[in-house]
């Protein structure tokens, strides 16, 4: 894989950004898309060179969601140029805008919107320049293939128009008018630009980096977060062939070797030569509900409307979700190098800028002494080990200056040490009136943190193991409407009398952080399971019951579309099979997703098999329909895996689920026979993002289908075979 390691380029790029403050503003600042807050200059987003090269910069990262292709489609249409003419640079602290985290299904909303805005203004600016250059009115020029063409045949290409700082102007709030002519990229299923390398063994991942002089490291983790190192004897390890260094700083132990497998073996040898005291520091409770409820909570009422209504039919239920794993297929990896007091870090972190700040604190250096470059890793689905392994890598690069140090976690590290998806308890009570409407709704969700991302050095695993350890900052919940553990805790239904309380638990018993959808997964599972229970109590069809309580026409449309494509009304139930439905609007402000599934339940084995899943999605204006479908299909299948199989287990001393045998995920045999995604395009509407829209609906639709198939209402995730057999 070729990587731009030219330091002059690095400094030059950094220099261009700092120069910008001396330039006059093009216009007064106003309401610009959010990503412009930190990056107001057009040439921070789009650069045009004299040789006609057009480079597009995004602060978001490719995580396998296909964002690179979609962003290029947006810019291509604004500039009226083929996407293949554009080069994209993704998250790099030396080169790209700072757009925070690539998370929360926000990349299209943030970067897509910003790039559309920036590209539109670049086109306007180029049009002015061309009109001046050709001394013709702008309206007489046609824009084609990167050049303005006059009626007399004279041309002015982008590269001719931008000779200096012409694009070094502030973006202005008012959007450019739509580009003339027909859009050719947006709305088309352009093949993803990253896939050919991925299917042919091209250098596609940070794991594939090979830098000159690179060495390999492995970390020896404690048996648990509370474990105390009693003794370590590195003599035998140091005698192994190819060992360059054994690093010890407090409980942070690592080996660096001249070959990767030598590092693996040396780490195993060093692990054998350590003695630990492993206190029984983890809470053991008979159930997840007991464990979560036992933790201190800080309640916040996030919705309180109407009055309490007690007359009518009362229904209540409690739902739980265990700790779960991101469980990336490729363990986290980073490469770091320290040269002349400057660190370069190649990382698959979701936030290279926040990571840089945390690493600077960890290393006690200024942030401009660190450059973090995003290089794709295995899919992360949230805050996995990506940031932690970058911390490992810089600590080891500091121990061996001059040499690029590559660290990849082993499988048991990824399973055992990634920040887990948070266990949750949701209890809900409602009253149905005589007309079968929800007259009262009370909802309480109890949850440990869903965001402990760096931020701060204390958010990095290794930093907490050093002789002078960093303390993790006290986590805070994100405010509504997006929320974190309370994400989607407020139903998207018309509820005149409702109270929703978020019981945030800042002190987690075990490290937890953002996992695809955050609290929305469990909250939607709870709300949509409960809607099913209420519909049955009211003796109303579950789809009709939802429609009765929905107001937003876009929500109604996706519900109706999923139901009709599934054939909900004409459904013929057969033995062992059943159907289930669920709907949510992610974060109550992003994509709409409705899902109908059919399952087959074998009570004797406890096996639940999804025979068919049909979803309908409205994510605003669609840039790449196949990209949206891919995300939704993936979301449905991944959520099926969480829902049917997954839970972290630990005893009083340590995590027990440290490989794919102890923490199984869905295999080919259990994926649906058929999976359909139906899209509703909304040209002109904001991009709403799709990455997390299906997680919650899939869980509830499956649980509801299980009930329909066999009469078992399972409220504790996962619906695995042991639980199905016991129920």
């Amino acid at each position: 894989m070729s990587i731009d390691t030219d330091r002059r380029h690095f400094l030059a790029a950094g220099g261009a950004l700092t120069l910008s403050f001396a330039m006059p503003a093009w216009s007064a600042p106003g309401e610009l898309p959010k990503s412009f807050d930190k990056n107001p200059w057009l040439d921070a987003w789009i650069r045009i060179d004299a040789d006609e090269r057009i480079t597009v910069f995004t602060g978001k990262a490719e995580l396998g969601q296909g964002i690179k292709t979609a962003l290029l489609q947006i810019v291509a249409d604004e500039l009226r140029i083929a996407p293949s003419r554009l080069t994209l640079v993704t998250a790099d602290t030396a080169r790209t805008p700072d757009e925070g985290m690539t998370a929360g299904s926000n990349s299209m909303k943030d970067s897509g919107t910003a790039l559309r805005h920036a590209a539109g203004q670049v086109r306007m600016r180029l049009t002015e320049l061309a009109a001046t250059r050709l001394a013709l009115p702008a309206s007489s020029l046609a824009l084609k293939d990167g050049a303005f063409v006059a009626l007399d045949g004279r041309r002015a290409s982008f590269g001719q128009l931008v000779t200096g700082q012409e694009l070094h102007v502030r973006a202005t709030p008012e959007p450019a008018p739509p580009a003339p002519g027909v859009r050719t990229a947006i709305g088309k299923s352009l093949p993803r630009i990253d896939i050919p390398a991925k299917v042919t063994g091209g250098g596609a991942y940070v794991q594939d980096l090979r830098l000159p002089g690179m060495v390999h490291a492995r970390v020896v983790r404690p048996p648990s977060q509370a474990a105390r190192l009693l003794a370590v004897d590195d003599a035998a390890t140091l005698r192994l062939p190819g060992i360059l260094k054994v690093v010890r700083d407090g409980r942070f132990l690592a080996v660096i070797a001249d070959g990767e497998y030598r590092a693996v073996k040396a780490a195993a040898a060093l692990a054998r030569a350590t003695r630990w005291e492993t206190p029984a520091a983890l809470p053991v409770h008979p159930t997840i509900a007991d464990l979560v409820r036992a933790q201190p909570s800080e309640p916040t009422t996030i919705l309180d409307q109407g009055a309490r209504v007690k007359d009518g039919r009362h229904v209540e239920a409690t739902y739980t979700r265990p700790f779960q794993l991101h469980a990336s297929i490729g363990p986290s990896c980073a490469v770091a190098r320290l040269v002349d007091g400057r660190y370069t870090v190649w990382t698959h972190s979701q936030g290279v800028f926040p990571l840089r700040g945390a690493l600077a604190e960890l290393l006690a250096v200024k942030i401009d002494a660190i450059r973090c470059i995003h290089v794709e890793g295995s899919g992360c689905y949230g805050h996995n080990g990506a940031d932690d392994v970058a911390a490992d890598a810089v600590l080891l690069a500091r121990a061996l200056p001059g040499r690029p140090v590559r660290v990849q976690w082993m499988r048991e590290e990824e399973h055992g040490w990634e920040p887990f998806g948070a266990a949750m308890v949701a209890q809900v009570a409602a009253t149905l009136d005589a007309d079968g409407r929800i007259a009262d709704w009370q909802y309480d969700v109890f949850t440990p943190p869903h965001n402990t991302r760096p931020g701060k050095a204390g958010n990095l695993l290794a930093a907490t193991h050093l002789a002078r350890p960093f303390t993790p900052p006290v986590p805070k919940p994100s405010p509504q409407p997006e929320g974190s553990g309370d994400r989607n805790a407020i139903p998207y239904y018309r509820l005149p009398n409702a109270r929703v309380t978020h019981h945030f638990q800042p002190k987690a018993v075990i490290r937890t952080s953002a996992m695809r959808g955050l609290g929305a997964y469990c909250n939607v599972f709870a709300i949509e399971s409960f809607m099913d229970e209420l519909a049955r109590a009211a003796q109303v069809d579950p789809v009709a019951f939802r429609l009765r309580h929905l107001e937003d026409p876009r929500a109604i449309e996706v519900v109706k579309l999923a139901a009709s494509k599934f054939g909900w009304d004409g459904y013929k139930k057969v033995s062992r099979r059943g159907r289930g439905f669920a709907f949510a609007r992610y974060k109550n402000l992003a994509s709409y997703c409705a899902l109908a599934v059919e399952v087959e339940v074998a009570r004797e084995t406890g096996l639940v098999r999804i025979t068919r899943a049909v979803s309908a999605v409205d994510c605003g204006e669609i840039v790449n329909p196949d990209g949206v479908r891919n995300q939704i299909e993936g979301g449905v299948i991944q959520s099926s895996s969480w829902t049917l199989l997954e839970q972290v287990r630990f005893d009083a001393t340590r995590v027990l689920t440290v490989d794919w045998a102890s923490y199984p995920i869905l295999r080919f045999g259990q994926v649906p026979e058929k999976l359909e995604v139906h899209l509703i395009d909304r040209p002109g509407q904001p991009f709403l993002g799709t990455g997390e829209a299906a997680q919650g609906p899939a869980a509830a639709a499956i649980a509801n289908a299980v009930f329909d198939a066999c009469g078992l209402r399972l409220r504790d995730l996962p619906l695995d075979r042991a639980r199905m057999r016991k129920a």
């Binding site: 894989m1 995580l63 396998g64 296909g66 093949p191 993803r192 990253d194 896939i195 050919p196 390398a197 991925k198 299917v199 042919t200 063994g201 250098g203 596609a204 991942y205 794991q207 090979r210 062939p241 070959g259 990767e260 497998y261 030598r262 693996v264 073996k265 469980a327 990336s328 297929i329 490729g330 363990p331 794709e376 890793g377 295995s378 899919g379 990849q408 082993m410 499988r411 196949d626 891919n630 995300q631 299909e633 993936g634 979301g635 449905v636 299948i637 991944q638 099926s640 895996s641 490989d659 794919w660 045998a661 995920i665 869905l666 295999r667 080919f668 045999g669 994926v671 649906p672 999976l675």
Partner: protein, 158 residues
């Protein structure tokens, strides 16, 4: 450290390495082939799947010293981004990847199937692919890509 002669993607190689080094590490680090991936090192996920004399094998579990004269094939041996092999093209056509980390292993697992069973049923494809894990949930597309490749090969449209 010993010298091992390996036949990889039709070419002979001599590598100097420790005898217990798994083939995976030799392919990635000595031969600089990116296709086979480290996923678990335990033979549980299939990210490192390669072919040994036509049999799918998890290269993280095969010490280099036991490979012997068996012909090793990796995804790089099927084609490249300019001239992809039939399975690779099918994966591109079906856009059968999200993060793609598992995909090279999937393609090698599928290669083993199609070479022995040129006209597999859908059930055979599912059963054969069972050892390989995908976390992004790209399964439906992977199954379609294998089906498509089988159909292309059956139609002789190479």
């Amino acid at each position: 450290m010993s010298t091992y002669r390996l036949q990889v993607n039709g070419k002979p190689h001599a590598v100097d390495t420790d005898p217990d080094t798994p083939l995976l590490y030799v392919l990635r680090n000595e031969l600089e082939l990116n296709g086979a991936k480290f996923g678990c090192g335990l033979g549980q996920c299939g990210s490192c799947t390669v072919l040994l004399d036509g049999q799918a094998a998890m290269s993280c579990m095969v010490p280099v010293s036991v490979v012997g004269a068996r012909k090793v094939r990796t995804v790089e041996g099927l084609g490249d981004a300019r001239t992809p092999g039939v399975l690779q093209q099918a994966f591109i056509d079906e856009q059968a990847a999200q993060c793609g980390y598992c995909i090279a292993g999937m393609i090698m697992q599928a290669t083993a199937l199609l070479e022995k069973t040129p006209a597999p049923t859908d059930a055979q494809i599912r059963a054969h692919m069972a050892p390989n894990l995908c976390r992004c949930g790209t399964h439906m597309r992977i199954l379609r890509a294998v089906r498509r490749a089988a159909d292309v090969l059956a139609g002789g449209k190479r």
